[in-house]
Amino acid sequence: MCLAIPVRVVERIDDTNAVVDLDGVRKTISLALVDDVRVGDYVIVHVGHALAKLDPAEAERTLALFASASAEPRP
């Protein structure tokens, strides 16, 4: 329902706005709805606004979950 994508923050423009990058495509978006975002962080962007920070540790954990859950199917 809500098209949102994880993108990397590459530049802070001012208090509110930042430039994000996805594989070389850059867009200016608003950080007004999320606190403590630094250059290098990944955020989930929807309609030009960051809604959440992406937790890289959790992302790795989830990927590991995919690999492990499928390796040992429970009876």
Partner: protein, 349 residues
């Protein structure tokens, strides 16, 4: 029409001047525009005669004719402009029937107020494209419409070509078992144009792939004279072109998502806007359908050509009364690649 007497009329102010209604009125101003801008750029023996039509030698073979209206906005985009797009587009349409393009005509509908500098840039670009392709613009026309009634400039190009003997190419010739080939990455042109739309505001290095494909086609026909279908996936993208061919030939298709090249930035831009690259326009790519036995020779010839280094076998034609184009997804499932209903619109949901 009489040639302009210099000394009487001021030179065209390319730097600051704009198209006005007198440029389309058939009088001195129009003659000057044609002389100093159009004829100067295209500069060939036919235009030099200053007739309203061009006299050509009778070509030896079956004649192909094609026409296109070009209304792209914005007029200038990374990798090209409406001018070279027009030249390439019509050369390609002629080439898609297997024909060698011989000549082009170009009709311009100019909007009052269009800066002459922009017009010159477009015309010079067309001239360059025509020269590089070896296909002259032999005749043309100019009209001017009132401000607000045009999008800067509309260009209509018509091209003629001749088909070598023994070649029969057509959209209805695909047969079950045939190979489907694609000459390179998809989505570049459409996303390059989109990147210039202010309302979408994304920055990228995406460049239009606009190019004249007749040289590539000639090489392909030499390698595989039994080529059945050629088509360039312009508006509506690869998906639309494959569906058109399937419908015309009364067949189905099964293609492999993993075999279809999409540049990383094009994919990313599509993710941002919720678009599917399969439906995004291309202006320098072609789809070919040929008997399976000719696929290898074709691929070799294509990859040897600078415009098709990434040519790939993307699928095959199958027997299907429903004429579906099906695709094996990278993910391992299957989906139908359907017709587009209207333009693909960026979405938020």
């Amino acid at each position: 029409m009489s040639s302009v007497r210099s000394g009487y009329v001021r030179a065209l102010d390319i730097k600051h001047g704009r198209v006005d209604l007198s440029h389309g009125a058939g009088g001195r101003a129009m003659a000057q525009l044609i002389e100093q801008l159009f004829a100067a750029a295209f500069d060939n023996e036919w235009l030099a005669q200053r007739n309203d039509a061009a006299l050509l030698q009778r070509p030896d073979g079956r004649i192909v004719v094609s026409t296109d209206g070009h209304v792209v906005s914005p007029l200038f985009f990374p990798g090209g402009d409406i001018g070279c797009l027009a030249v390439h587009g019509t050369i390609n349409d002629v080439a898609m029937l297997g024909a060698r393009p011989l000549a082009l005509s170009a009709g311009f509908i100019l909007e009052e107020g269009l800066p002459l500098a922009d017009l010159k840039r477009i015309v010079d670009s067309m001239a360059r494209a025509a020269r590089d392709a070896g296909v002259p613009v032999v005749t043309g026309d100019t009209k001017v419409v009132e401000a607000g009634k045009g999008d800067g400039v509309f260009i209509t190009t018509t091209g003629i070509g001749v088909v070598p003997p023994g070649i029969t190419i057509g959209g209805d010739r695909a047969r079950p078992g045939d190979a489907v080939l694609l000459s390179g990455s998809i989505g570049d042109h459409g996303m390059a144009v989109m990147s210039q739309r202010e309302s979408l505001a994304f920055g990228s290095e995406i460049v239009s792939d606009t190019a004249a494909l007749h040289g590539l086609v000639a090489a392909m026909l030499a390698a595989a004279p039994d080529l059945r279908v050629l088509r360039d996936p312009t508006r509506g993208g690869l998906a639309t072109t494959l569906n058109e061919i399937a419908a015309q030939s009364n067949v189905g298709m099964l293609i492999d998502e993993a075999a279809i090249a999409v540049r990383a930035q094009v994919q990313a831009a599509c993710e941002f806007l919720g678009l599917d690259p399969l439906y995004v326009a291309n202006e320098g790519k072609l789809v070919a359908v040929a008997p399976a036995g000719s696929a290898d020779a074709l691929l070799r010839a294509m990859r040897a050509h600078p415009l098709a280094r990434e040519a790939a076998l993307i699928g095959s034609v199958v027997d299907d009364p429903h004429r579906f184009v099906q695709m094996r997804t990278r993910f391992g499932g299957r989906r139908v690649v359907d017709w587009l209903s209207g333009d693909q619109l960026p979405r938020i949901c």
